[in-house]
């Protein structure tokens, strides 16, 4: 069931918040041993919060809806581990701003979701908490770093989730788990109470079943936070009101080089999806944004050093407590000169100006979310036409171009290759989440890829109170 659908049933009295919470707890009990989406389940707290909610007079847009958040986002009284040994015992005493907003809207916090250690990687194979497994194929990773968020939605272990995205960490797991994810524009959502990776790029956003659900959650958490100066002073549009405007008349810039550079089987699926949007009245325009191939390098020129700065004290005192891959990546920033950081900032401005000009000619851009299928758990390469391709190098050119520019990006499920989900990305202008959600919603109104569920979720749904 979608979060929006569940919210409607709750408001109509067809289901109580306690029943909704208990339904998800039952599923978590049945399935999460296999999926490992959760690091912490707040069973008793969530049931108590459901009971309290039923007594409260106000009913917000997410009243009684059970949600979960990536375990870098603080929930008061519940550990925020960041899937690390270093923070294993850290219990915050305040909610993150986004969690407070979810609670104000009536959402119930089911628990904290697995991720790549410190959100600094795209596999979600923490050596400390174990890998989150792809519900579509348990021998495959579910992407990352918000892998638990994607897996929880695919396996129906929460109605909606929050992830974070620095260089693809919402889009990648949404794509690999066959669900919908939205990285909002930088500054659209507060990062207060969220463990940082790199301040210039970190963004909190929803992973859920549909664009409508993403709109519902984004509308709840977006907006200026006086406690986070990186949030923008811009009104939050009523995303739900423009969602149904349809695809007719939309100009979609297809980033041809990224379609052609993907695994040919993925390129076929994405091309068919874009054809569907054309059949709905959108106009497809091939585009070739300048400097696209440099975006990953430009982002890394800043990201390495920001991440190292965020972790410097622990690098000094807890170095051996990091997993091998994250430790190596964090150490790199010690050896890069400060002039590189400034060069990166200058290149970022030049890149953004070029991309902005492209976005003046279209409403949204489109490209494959990921050019390769998810690697198997324990592997860091993927096979494309018989060649072994490093997973990390494959993902950067498809994700950094948009996060470097701080643009909103949705990943929308659009088909399968070898039984594994494929997604396409819709990229909007800065603060242009409405156009992205509108196009995604139009596509989902005409297709059913977002409704398909992997075998474990189908099994658990049989005879359960929550369809």
């Amino acid at each position: 069931m979608t979060a929006a659908g569940l919210a409607r049933r709750l408001r109509a009295g067809e289901l109580s918040p306690r029943e909704a919470v208990q339904g998800y707890l039952d599923r978590i009990e049945a399935l999460d041993g296999e999926v490992n989406a959760y690091i912490t389940v707040r069973a008793e707290e969530a049931l108590a919060e459901a009971d309290a909610l039923e007594r409260a007079p106000a009913r917000g847009p997410l009243w009684g809806v059970p949600v979960a958040v990536k375990d870098v986002i603080d929930v008061a009284g519940t550990p925020t581990t960041a899937a690390s040994r270093i923070l294993a015992d850290r219990v915050p005493d305040r909610d993150a701003h986004v969690v407070a907003r979810l609670r104000e809207a009536g959402a119930i916090l089911l628990g904290k979701l697995n991720l790549h250690e410190f959100a600094y990687g795209a596999l979600t194979t923490s050596p400390h908490f174990g890998p989150a497994r792809n519900p579509w194929s348990p021998d495959r990773v579910c992407g990352g770093s918000s892998g638990g968020s994607g897996a929880a939605i695919a396996a129906d272990l929460a109605a909606a989730t929050l992830g974070t995205d620095t260089a693809g960490s919402i889009r990648i797991p949404a794509c690999y788990c066959g669900v919908t994810g939205l990285r909002p524009s930088s500054g659209r959502v507060s990062n207060r109470g969220v463990v940082p990776v790199a301040w210039s790029f970190d963004t909190v956003g929803p992973i859920a079943r549909t664009a409508e659900d993403c709109a519902l959650v984004l509308g709840t958490v977006a907006g200026r936070d006086p406690g986070d100066p990186s949030t923008v002073n811009a009104p939050v549009p009523p995303y739900g009101e423009t969602l149904g405007a349809g695809a007719r008349g939309l100009r979609i810039g297809v980033v041809t080089s990224l379609v052609e550079g993907a695994d040919p089987r993925i390129a076929v699926v994405v091309t068919e999806a874009l054809g569907e949007l054309r059949s709905l009245g959108a106009q497809l325009v091939p585009v070739a944004p300048p400097l696209l191939e440099r975006a990953g390098t430009i982002q890394q020129a800043m990201q390495f050093q920001e991440a190292t700065a965020a972790h410097l004290e622990w690098l000094r005192t807890r170095l051996s407590d990091y997993g091998d891959d994250v430790r190596a990546r964090l150490l790199v920033g010690l050896f890069l000169p400060s002039t590189l950081y400034v060069t990166g900032q200058r290149a970022r401005r030049a890149y953004y100006e070029e991309l902005r000009r492209v976005l003046e000619r279209v409403d949204v851009l489109a490209a494959p979310t990921m050019p390769v299928l998810p690697p198997r758990v324990g592997e860091e390469t993927v096979e494309v036409e018989g060649r072994e391709v490093p997973y990390r190098l494959a993902l950067i050119p498809y994700n950094s171009p948009w996060s470097l520019a701080g643009l909103p990006v949705a990943s929308v499920p659009c088909g399968f290759v070898d039984g594994l989900p494929v997604g396409f990305a819709l990229i909007g202008p800065r603060l242009g989440e409405e156009a992205v959600l509108r196009a995604a919603h139009a596509f989902q109104g005409a297709t059913d890829w977002h409704e398909l569920r992997p075998a474990p979720a189908r099994r658990a749904a049989e005879g359960a109170a929550l369809p």
Partner: protein, 63 residues
């Protein structure tokens, strides 16, 4: 930026910042730097000279 630094050079730089990595850590870092440094060098010639940095935000003044 010069060529990939040696293990000894990396160790000195790390220790100057209060960090004590193992040889295995530094070998992993060298592998990263061998890929990254040439790409970073190319960035230096990419940006038009008049381009100012994309500034960090100022409270309440970004939009």
């Amino acid at each position: 930026m010069a060529a990939t630094p040696s293990l000894g050079e990396l160790r000195r730089l790390a220790e100057a910042q209060g960090v004590a990595p193992t040889d295995a850590d530094l070998e992993a870092v060298r592998a990263f730097l061998a890929v990254l440094l040439p790409a970073f060098r190319e960035l230096e010639g990419l940006v038009p000279p008049e381009t100012a940095p994309a500034a960090f935000f100022l409270p309440g003044e970004r939009e």
